[in-house]
Assembly symmetry: C2
């Protein structure tokens, strides 16, 4: 894999020198290619992930562990030589898990592996017990009559499709909030879902859910895929009674925060990259999103090591409390509202540790030639052109909504939902070579974006679009 990358790189270097670049100068392009070569030989990104997942481990949004992660972030940024290292705090509603358990009571008594969904209410201490009503899809539950399942336990057994681009998630994740809300409307006593995931291991997938206003709040949890299979098989033989106990708490607001650091540039314009610092409590948040922290911090470190000052400031943010509702992203957009127009582009890495295969943008239509130039420099890494419909990653959404152009360096997500939000999201699942490819891509992209001529926004009304 490394050999192939070196070959491709050599080819890219040859080809690159022949490219007619209009906005990325020949010097910047040469530096970007050098960053790629150096990054592929560096373990800086992986080392950051190793440090975070070992020295902090799980770091639930709003928890004491997330506070330790911020302290870790400050120390790590300083140790690596970043400037303007600081924490920007905010409050968010806290939720935590103490204990969870489920059993088939009859006709085949046995334990099931289950995990509460984030935001769920608790069951009574003695748990809830009732007959299970299975719905093959979330739509089937939505279409069900409003009466007839009072006192029962809803089970939405919808499968998720495995895809490279994660598009199966959007469909499958609807049941995560939907099951409890539709169950509550129908007088059910609990809602279970087949985990939103693509694996078949005994590790259930948690994730945030939200109750709709005015709907009875019923406790809700996810079964691992093998347990959902088991419940399905039991139900195929007749009525099943299930017991569920969730001891979870929502004790009110807690402090969270974003950790910021910079490589100062010559102007007040900003290139924004980052990942999110919080993780779900079950794993150690290696792929979600230790990887994003390691990749973006690592890329900026590679740039720093080059020893050249960028035109624009490169800002790296470790966002807090992403998982529970983009609290860090919204706080950032609010706290930096007066300089959002100086953010020329933003990109978050938050889709695991797979290799990047596509350069996606959300630029003004008139600025797509700049995207094409940058993509051609990344091509030797196996990164092709992508659509102009990028989100930039979840923590870029509030700033993007305010007009910030974004880039998504799209990763292969084929295996991402095997591990996402499970106890199994741990460091051993990450290939250091894949992280190095990500660091290389981010380093080259960020260096080009920080030095490119012009920007990615639409020209102001009345200006000459052809002038740049």
């Amino acid at each position: 894999m490394r050999f192939a990358a070196v070959i491709a790189l050599a080819f890219g270097l040859t080809l690159g020198s022949a490219l007619a670049q209009d906005y990325v100068s020949e010097e910047i392009e040469r530096q970007a290619r050098a960053l790629i070569a150096k990054s592929l030989e560096s373990s800086v990104g992986y080392d950051v992930i190793e440090s975070l997942t070992t020295e902090v481990g799980p770091r639930l949004a709003g928890s004491e562990a997330e506070a330790r992660a911020r302290a870790w972030g400050v120390a790590k940024f300083k140790q690596l030589g970043f400037k303007n290292v600081r924490v920007e705090t905010f409050n968010m509603p806290y939720w935590e898990r103490n204990y969870e358990d489920a059993e088939i009571v009859s006709p085949f008594p046995q334990k099931l592996t289950v995990t509460a969904l984030g935001g769920s209410v608790a069951t009574p201490v003695e748990g809830v017990q009732g007959e299970v009503v299975r719905f093959e899809t979330m739509q089937d539950l939505r279409d069900a009559p409003l009466t007839g399942i009072e006192g029962k336990i809803v089970f939405v057994d919808e499968y998720m499709t495995r895809t490279q681009d994660g598009s199966g998630y959007g469909v499958a994740v609807q049941k995560r909030s939907g099951a409890a809300n539709e169950a509550g409307k129908r007088g059910a006593i609990a809602a279970l879902i087949r985990s939103v995931g693509t694996d078949s291991h005994r590790n259930p997938h948690t994730g945030q859910m939200r109750y709709e206003e005015g709907v009875a709040k019923v406790p809700t949890a996810a079964l691992s895929a093998p347990d959902a299979d088991q419940l399905q098989r039991a139900l195929s033989r007749g009525a099943v009674t299930l017991w569920l106990a969730l001891d979870v708490e929502s004790p009110g607001e807690r402090r969270s925060g974003n950790v910021l650091a910079e490589i100062p540039g010559r102007t007040d314009e900003i290139v924004l990259i980052g990942g999110h610092l919080d993780s779900w409590d079950l794993g150690t948040g290696a792929i979600d999103d230790g990887a994003g922290i390691g990749i973006t911090v690592g890329a900026a470190k590679m740039i720093m090591e080059m020893g050249k000052k960028p035109e624009r400031t490169i800002r790296v943010v470790m966002f807090g409390s992403e998982e529970t509702g983009l609290w860090g992203a919204r706080a950032y957009a609010a706290q930096h509202a007066d300089e959002l127009d100086k953010h020329i582009v933003g990109a978050e890495s938050d889709f695991g540790a797979g290799r990047i295969y596509r350069f996606e943008t959300k630029f003004a239509e008139g600025k797509l030639d700049r995207a094409a130039e940058m993509q051609r420099v990344l091509a030797p890494l196996g990164i092709g052109p992508g659509p102009n419909t990028a989100s930039g990653g979840p923590d870029m959404i509030p700033a993007a909504a305010a007009g910030m152009p974004v880039v998504t360096l799209k990763q292969n997500g084929w295996d991402y939902f095997d591990l996402h939000h499970t106890p199994d999201d741990t460091l051993d699942k990450i290939d250091p070579d894949d992280i190095a490819q990500n660091v290389a891509a981010y380093a080259a992209f960020v260096w080009m974006a920080a030095n490119i001529e012009g920007d990615f926004r639409a020209e102001a009304e009345g200006s000459d679009q052809g002038s740049d």
Copy 2:
């Protein structure tokens, strides 16, 4: 895979008709080949596994769930048309798990995934807490001085080698009892091991351990591989304090039992096959040993469907309480002591759900020509000749020790220890085509053994070895 098997089978049939068989008659060989063809198209073995793992689920030795498994076994045998269905009971020492938990207390507070080893004593209710002392191998711990680790927690971090034949297990499993015993001798307060397994998922491997006489009994548990990695990384940074709580019980003797059934033959000689009915409590015992139950019951059922009476009686046994010390196997050998000399061969399936690749025996040297004949009939299934050092499977050990010849239809165990004794030992891990190949091999082997001329034992002193 199925296509290849059919091709191989056709080739085998052609070849078979040309073989000069001395002990397996042409008619029996033809019937054995027909059994292979029918078994490859049947789901009977898989269906039995599906039924057991769904309708009983986990079935710890001596538990109420194991009693339900015996009732299931009796009903299943009768439903399939077996004769002489009966339960033979015995007592065994019971152990059960209530609760287990572990945490790194300092310097990086976080939960670890842990499971008590079978037979472990409990910790005090408040748990035990101490500094961790890591040993890279079990031998390193054995070689350690008898003083210097008093009050500490031993951690044996030895890895297991992945092999097709499971030979890595014999080495790795030594730490399962060894860690606690050596820790006890040294005044340590607990013993942790890296799970005896080859996977890297957050599912720890349990398994039986035994305290040596006169050694202080310390609580002992296994960390999942990712947790062992994590502890190793934490220790690489300095001293680590860990907390461990195990709530387990050994309340005395409980009733267990073997479930027997037969296809009666024309003589009082017996061909013995089976699997074990009990499983560890964490998973549903699909590969260990629902598979063995399904494969051997399924094979006998295929023979029954042929509608021909065998020369020898075919006896299928679902052994109880294998995992905790071969209690069922020992009870069987004791309860059938007066007819063990009539057992012409025994074979247990207890190595998962992988395909069979080798026909191993433990026959008298003078009877290996019979082994060669049977193996040639199995060859189209991809089954080659094996050594004459077979164990016959764990539940055959006591009868084999009393002189019973045994066969091991050796399965590919490459993935077996990814799942063995974990919560992840569930039905979804089993490929029905692989089970059909196993059923085909057992059906053909058992039919040949039940009808072969002569037996597999050494001739009585003074008899003419050349006469048969």
